[in-house]
């Protein structure tokens, strides 16, 4: 077993390397597995044709698409179903989507290597060829089956909307009628995929596959699972990062009716009860003493001072070109700026939760799992079971924004610790639920970052140099994704700065701090795009050139950025006369292989301001579901606006000062601006959508505030003082 686990671990690390270096593993089409079907329709395994691991055609003409990706709001179920439908040529109204089981041998993310997981805005991009092939193969097998039934040449068989036709004889059969015959066929070695111009589903606006069940309360999130004998668990966790439990007094807690068991695990004190509420009441009554000698006692102000000092020192070189010293001499005008970005919590609406059932031979989990393979490894290690004996049932997630994909598997590992430690609830399904306070104070934040930038212009108003220092915790350090050296996610968007400059230097320092951190929707771009896109704006003003024009002049090697920038400014009628107090700001950025430009219109009144409208152009390759892309961009703008206006997790003597939505405040409906999204026409393969809408908003807003007030805001969240 140890060897097996070691190998798995190595495989996992290999896959992680693939992720961070962008190595693309060639796609393949795994075979079906009868076990999958039984999972959601026991006793009726006969009446269906499992073409492959992703496509099942049933006798009633319905088609099930198995999604290897977590549906957490990004619309991936609809996107994957669209891709399959396009090539399978089936009836869209009869397509449903189910979560695939956790099995990296068939359901790995091709952008991650041999690991199943959802993230990095890769779901559609990595599935594009794979699911087209899956759909086309299934179609080919149905056609072969029909040809055999009719003793007709395959060349004369055609399909349309879930039917197979032989026009010469006037015969036809539905896909469902061919299920039995199709089972006897063998998958062809290769299939011909459609030409882009023949697409009937890709590029159309469709209703989301998960729309209906999300408006009538029927959608099944991890939180909603109702299992026989299920019990509920809450955990009292350390008030400081790095503190450990010394002792606890549960005398009062035990008096609560419905409490079943109170015990300790490494993460804190666990209360198991018949229901959530008694568990919560009991947890509130536990008096715990913590050993905080090794814990973090710092305040945000201390971290700020330390990082400021570090900015004065040289870091590791993340990128360098040109002769910096000489370019600095060439500069006739210079600008310097310091930026600050706070810790940010993801705060998905569905708080973290996980149902775990640990039995002798297996461990079963039900949760909105975002990183199945990593979680299987972690649970295998904790339980001594092989990863194959860790069964993960992926349910819908009420948002994630990165929080549910954690290479430390934090909340899942904790649930398994509970299942291991319980004495009187062994073998039962245990539902571990986090409260909002647990979530906001639980760490795994977007790291606190500071940047210092010095840049200069030549006499010709070209960028002479760009000297950029960053200080902030490394997200990848110490995880399976750590490959040593520069953490690319700390400098992405800067180390590959698109603007032409004689010299560029990007230096990174990644201090260690006990605050747990994690990727947060668009990861490093959440801060790198801000400093890059506000600094370019400062340079434009220094050069007395229109900021959009100045960008275009310096983007000579980046036509796709130029195009989205031109489009967004066209939509916003950039350059028009504006009333007093109103400003327009622009930003353009590439992330997750997609290109986005946004123009923000802000209205400033005194010390307050309101974002009135945002125009956005996105180039994400072929638009599989255009309306969903628009929806994602609208949402990303709102998500980014929450951070720009209010988002901030602060520490006071080590304690997280925020606790719930009254002091960690996502935007509300009245804050939401009008949003207009344009998707650039493209023949390129699809690229990221879920995250790329985030990075431009805050810098475009800061630039708009400058346009309206002449004030440069360089600290997030943005406040006028």
């Amino acid at each position: 077993m140890a060897i097996e686990k070691d190998i798995s671990r190595r495989e996992f690390i290999k896959s992680s390397t693939a992720l961070t270096t962008g190595l693309v593993v060639s796609f393949y089409l795994p075979r079906a597995d009868a076990k999958i079907v039984d999972r959601f329709e026991p006793g009726n395994a006969q009446d269906k044709f499992e073409a492959n691991a992703f496509v099942i055609v049933k006798g009633d003409d319905t088609v099930v698409v198995l999604s290897k990706h977590l549906e957490m709001g990004q619309g991936v179920y609809t996107g994957l179903a669209t891709i399959v439908t396009e090539e399978l040529d089936c009836d869209w109204s009869k397509v449903t989507v189910e979560a695939a089981p956790a099995d990296a041998s068939r359901y790995n993310n091709l952008a991650f290597g041999p690991a199943q997981g959802t993230g990095g805005s890769t779901s559609i991009a990595n599935s594009w060829h794979q699911l087209r092939e899956a759909g086309a193969t299934a179609r080919a097998m149905l056609m072969m089956a029909a040809a055999k039934e009719w003793s007709a040449p395959l060349a004369d068989i055609v399909t349309s909307n879930g039917q197979v036709f032989h026009h010469k004889s006037g015969r036809s059969l539905s896909y469902g009628q061919l299920v039995e015959a199709a089972k006897k066929t063998t998958a062809p070695k290769s299939v011909k995929l459609k030409s882009n111009q023949d697409f009937k589903h890709v590029g159309q606006n469709v209703i989301r596959k998960d729309g209906a069940e999300k408006v009538n309360g029927k959608a099944m999130y991890g939180m909603d699972l109702n299992l026989k004998d299920k019990v509920y668990a809450l955990v009292l966790r350390a008030p400081l990062f790095g503190a450990t439990l010394k002792t606890f007094d549960d005398v009062e807690a035990k008096k609560i009716k419905g409490v079943r068991e109170i015990f300790r695990i490494p993460q804190g004190v666990v209360v198991i009860a018949d229901h959530f509420w008694p568990a919560k009441m009991a947890r509130d009554k536990i008096l715990a003493k913590w050993d905080d000698e090794e814990a973090l006692h710092k305040s945000t102000a201390d971290i700020r001072e330390e990082y400021k000092e570090l900015l004065g020192k040289s870091g590791e070189i993340a990128a360098t070109h040109g002769a910096l010293a000489k370019s600095k001499e060439d500069a006739v005008q210079t600008v310097e700026a310091t930026y600050e970005f706070p810790f940010l919590a993801h705060a998905p609406m569905e708080t973290l939760n996980c149902v775990v059932q640990l039995e002798k031979e297996k461990c079963t989990l039900w949760t909105g799992d975002q990183f199945q393979t990593g979680d299987q490894m972690t649970v295998a290690k904790l339980t001594g079971l092989s990863p194959q004996k860790v069964i993960i049932n992926t349910l819908m997630a009420g948002g994630s924004f990165g929080r549910r994909a954690n290479s430390k598997s934090d909340y899942i590992a904790e649930a398994v610790e509970i299942a291991k430690a319980t004495k009187t609830n062994s073998g039962r399904p245990i539902h571990v639920i986090w409260t909002r306070e647990d979530d906001i104070r639980g760490g795994f934040y977007r790291p606190f970052f500071m940047h210092e930038v010095s840049a200069g212009l030549t006499a010709e108003n070209k960028i002479a140099y760009w000297d950029h220092r960053l200080v902030g915790q490394s997200i990848m350090a110490g995880t399976a994704f750590d490959k040593g050296g520069i953490d690319h996610t700390s400098v992405e968007g800067l180390s590959n700065l698109a603007y032409d400059t004689e010299s560029l230097q990007v230096e990174l320092q990644s201090p260690k701090l006990q605050v747990p951190i994690l990727w947060w929707r668009s990861v490093g771009h959440t801060h790198t795009a801000f400093s890059a896109e506000t600094m370019i704006d400062e340079l434009a003003h220094l050069a007395k050139i229109d900021p959009a024009q100045f960008r275009l002049i310096h983007l000579t090697k980046h036509p796709r950025r130029q195009e989205v920038l031109k489009q967004a400014t066209l939509m916003a009628n950039w350059g028009r006369k504006l009333p007093a107090g109103v400003g327009l700001g622009v930003a353009v950025h590439e992330s997750f292989k997609s290109f986005v430009s946004q123009v923000v219109q802000v209205k400033v009144s005194g010390k307050t301001f309101k974002v009135e409208k945002v125009w956005c152009a996105i180039d994400c390759g072929i638009a599989v579901n255009p309306d969903n892309i628009k929806s994602q961009v609208e949402g990303a703008i709102g998500f980014a606006l929450s951070a720009a206006l209010n988002g901030e997790i602060t520490l006071k003597d080590g304690h997280v000062e925020q606790s719930n939505f009254h002091d960690y405040r996502p935007i509300r409906i009245h804050d939401m601006p009008q949003v207009e999204v344009h998707i650039m026409a493209s023949e390129a393969d699809p690229t990221g959508v879920g995250e790329p809408g985030v990075p431009c908003l805050a810098p475009a807003l800061a630039n708009a505030i400058f346009a309206a007030t002449g004030k440069r805001l360089r600290k997030l969240p943005l406040t006028l003082t």
Partner: protein, 164 residues
């Protein structure tokens, strides 16, 4: 655990849930939310904050949109509670239909609450203005920020209900 040491008390509360009378025996401080979810197994009403800040737990109590995470069960005795599973009138059906057609949802976790608030608004205000919407929907957070579509869908639903 020795349950005889459990000295906290429970009470029997009877109320109407989606047009059926139900009786539960729970601690009187138990929020209606957890009674609906854990005891009566209707999970369309969600938990999000526990302090009436996010609105994902919104139901109608005697027709009024109410945050159940801070509504003690004791205060619900004899009252009429409607959850997302129990709204079937024309307003509700139209709102749900328009919500689907306009692709409002993303993760969807807040949408039961959004719909309960929107339905309550449209039952009392046939033609809400943007500022009416801000007021009625301001207590419902959506972390996916589907707000623009929520606003649009309310206007579309209002128009459709008026025409019908």
């Amino acid at each position: 655990m020795n349950t005889s040491a459990q000295t906290s008390t429970t009470v029997q509360v009877t109320f109407e849930l989606n047009e059926k009378s139900v009786t539960v025996d729970v601690d009187p401080s138990t929020p209606l939310l957890w009674v609906i979810r854990d005891h009566l197994n209707l999970t369309g009403t969600k938990f999000g904050c526990g302090m009436a800040q996010c609105g994902v737990c919104t139901v109608h109590i005697d027709g009024v949109a109410t945050r159940t995470c801070v509504t003690p069960i004791g205060s619900v005795a004899g009252r009429k509670v409607q959850t997302i599973e129990g709204i079937h009138d024309k307003v509700a059906q139209t709102v749900q239909k328009v919500w689907v057609e306009e692709n409002v949802v993303q993760c969807g976790y807040c949408q039961s609450g959004q719909i309960m608030s929107a339905v309550a608004l449209l039952r009392s205000n046939q033609k809400p203005t943007d500022s009416d919407i801000d007021k009625a929907m301001g207590g419902n957070l959506c972390r996916c920020a589907t707000y623009a579509r929520i606003r649009h869908a309310i206007h579309v639903a209002a128009e459709r209900i008026l025409k019908a």
